[in-house]
Assembly symmetry: C2
Homo-oligomer: 298 residues x 2
């Protein structure tokens, strides 16, 4: 029997003692020259990604590849993303593919197969999806996740500056994002694990902690995927605003992703050899893991 994704995720968070999730965002103009020229040679992205995973798996239980940044390299980038997903799983990490997919029934089935399905799909453990088109468009993802012990992270309150444009439109006294959460909440039971947490996750931006607290009330069992900590400006305390007491020393509630701060810290960008680069990345990841750990125990 396949262990529900929610249980695999919360066990990983507890084992690493931190909700840190490493976001794998390959920016061609940021990948250090130590790895090659990413603009001209897509294998540079593969080298960089493997080197990141070699360190990340010691500090975080989840890797979150940013598919749009791989797609800009064409099918070679798509293939590299797939190889890195397999490599991360080999190194014991869970893979949450940040693809933000969404489409009508038959096409959504294709996307679900492509992202959380096995080869030639990515075989990711979870995938991000966009709810705008309606609940029926999420159904193929949830059905496949239920059958295969996978997770589905639905955009609810995103981290970007313009998140409120549509998400904050007022619907009978509550914002759109809250109505989205209310509609999703009943689906949580379908991906619930023994831990009581559900693999029907909600994306709750770290940059909006008050919304995260309200989202926790609307979707009490949903694990959160929290973007926006670090480079986008939110603090660790803000990032875990939607986390709750769960019986252990740390508050729980999902994972908090960090990309640029742990992939391209100044110390790593300035490194002139691989040993120094590795040390800088390890330090940045350890620091982020610790900061989030502290925020969860305060």
């Amino acid at each position: 029997m396949t262990t529900p994704f929610a249980d695999r995720l919360i066990e990983g968070v507890r084992a690493k003692n931190t909700p840190l999730c490493v976001g794998l965002d390959p920016f061609p103009d940021k990948i250090p020259a130590l790895f090659g020229n990413a603009v001209e040679d897509t294998s540079t992205v593969l080298k960089f990604g493997t080197a990141i995973i070699d360190i990340a798996h010691k500090h975080a239980c989840v890797l979150k590849p940013q598919l749009g940044l791989f797609e800009q390299f064409g099918e070679m980038g798509y293939a590299v993303a797939r190889m890195l997903c397999a490599y991360a799983k080999q190194e014991g990490m869970l893979v949450l593919l940040d693809a933000k997919r969404g489409d009508i029934g038959t096409t959504a089935e294709g996307y679900a197969r492509a992202t959380i399905g096995g080869p030639p799909g990515f075989g990711a453990d979870a995938v991000t999806v966009n709810p705008y088109m309606g609940k029926d468009t999420l159904e193929p993802f949830i059905t496949r996740a239920q059958a295969e012990g996978k997770g589905v992270a639905v955009l609810v309150r995103t981290s970007n500056p313009g998140a409120g444009d549509f998400q904050d439109l007022q619907v009978g006294g509550a914002p759109v994002w809250q109505r989205v959460a209310e509609m999703l909440a009943p689906e949580c039971a379908r991906l619930r694990g023994q831990s009581g947490w559900s693999g029907l996750m909600a994306v709750a931006g770290a940059t909006y902690p008050e919304e995260a607290r309200r989202l926790r009330e609307a979707m009490p069992e949903a694990l959160f995927l929290v973007p926006g900590y670090g480079a986008q400006g939110a603090s660790a305390a803000d990032a875990v605003a939607g986390f709750v007491q769960a019986g252990g020393p740390m508050r729980e509630g999902g994972v908090v992703s960090s990309s640029r701060a742990v992939l391209y810290p100044q110390t790593a960008q300035a490194a002139t050899n691989m040993a120094d680069w590795r040390a800088a990345i390890g330090d940045a990841m350890a620091a982020a893991a610790a900061e989030l750990r502290t925020a969860c125990t305060s």
Copy 2:
């Protein structure tokens, strides 16, 4: 100077005398055995796609590849999609890549480059995008489109049965989808062509004609992408509900896409040789083109 996408699209519609758009939806279990076994061999999809384009370019000015259905074949599928986009353009068609992408700024730039940017991107003439995350997430697509004479088709009122789940939530007396349209309308000027039409397109489902009429009022210059005609159940009259008198014999307003009805008509599925298959596809496309032409002149 690059001709605005809107002008290229409306010229194509006028030249073909129909708003038909052929949706390229590769379903592995529907592609005829004449082409090979699509489940085992992704090159079958390439053969099928090229054969479709060889006929489609005579009947329609736009091809709409459904990227999610190509992605289910992994990076080989992604590569096949890219090759078919290039082939369609070679045959004189415009390519509207149905990818429904959307993400925050830096990632959205990656998606914009991957879809409407040149190699290794798809080089599509236009791409579909999801507005849920807010206007700032659409900006990289619009900026690139403005610079390169491309189009951006934003989901507003989709064709699926559950479209109303979120899109019909009432915001101060009007539905969410109308508020989305109102927020997008000012951006139309940025992609407006000499024809007066804008390449900032709106997706308006054929299955909701009353909404399409109201959407036309909210976004008078936006070209529509109308899905849902044919297999999803809407009539030709419904499909062009948002079209208007434009000085010529046909009402205008965008393009109407048809996929399964023109790709997999019963006559083509039953064909035992390529000549019969081609004839059946040609007949189906001609019939769809004619039915939409008639609907635009009545």
